[in-house]
Amino acid sequence: MTGAKVELSCKDCDKGIESCACCDEEDCGSAICFECLVTELGQSLAQPHDHGG
């Protein structure tokens, strides 16, 4: 079948994703889901509130 969408899965957790959360590409060879990217970059670190918590 032509024009079929390539199935992507996260390189870390194997979850099916539509596009790579890092580069937004649908044919990324190192596709990663948002949750794993957040973990990989430590972006899940709790940030202090403006008002000091």
Binding site: C20, A21, C22, C23, D24, E25, C28, S30, L37, E40, L41, G42, Q43, L45, Q47, P48, D50
Partner: protein
Amino acid sequence: MGLATEGTNASRPRAGDVCRKDVPTCRLGERMGEVRDGVRAAGWDACVVTNDERVVFGLLRSAELAGADASATAEQAMRPGPSTYRPFVGIEEMAEVMLEHNLANCPITTSDGRLVGLLVKEDAARVALELHEREHHHEEDQP
């Protein structure tokens, strides 16, 4: 505003330190002909599409800048909702993902989406390498 960064990693460079704050920006309704001319005149090949509060809506990398019709708006030409990264992410981690995914640049934003700057792959890789070499030499100097 958050608390001051503390601890043993406080001096390690982060995405927010290395990103370029002088990246050109444009608004959704601006025409690509003028955007392209302005960006190139400033010596850039990328432009971030924001609103007046610097909230990021899209990104124009070299392909979008080169390929867009001059009469098209930035909104029509941009990559909408690009992946953004927080300023506190370590430069080594950023360099690693940018090299792995061949990202020429990526927007660094606050958690509410406001632009801090654009991190360029070559800058991230250079600073990460300098950091690595500095730490390697430091280890060799230890008795």
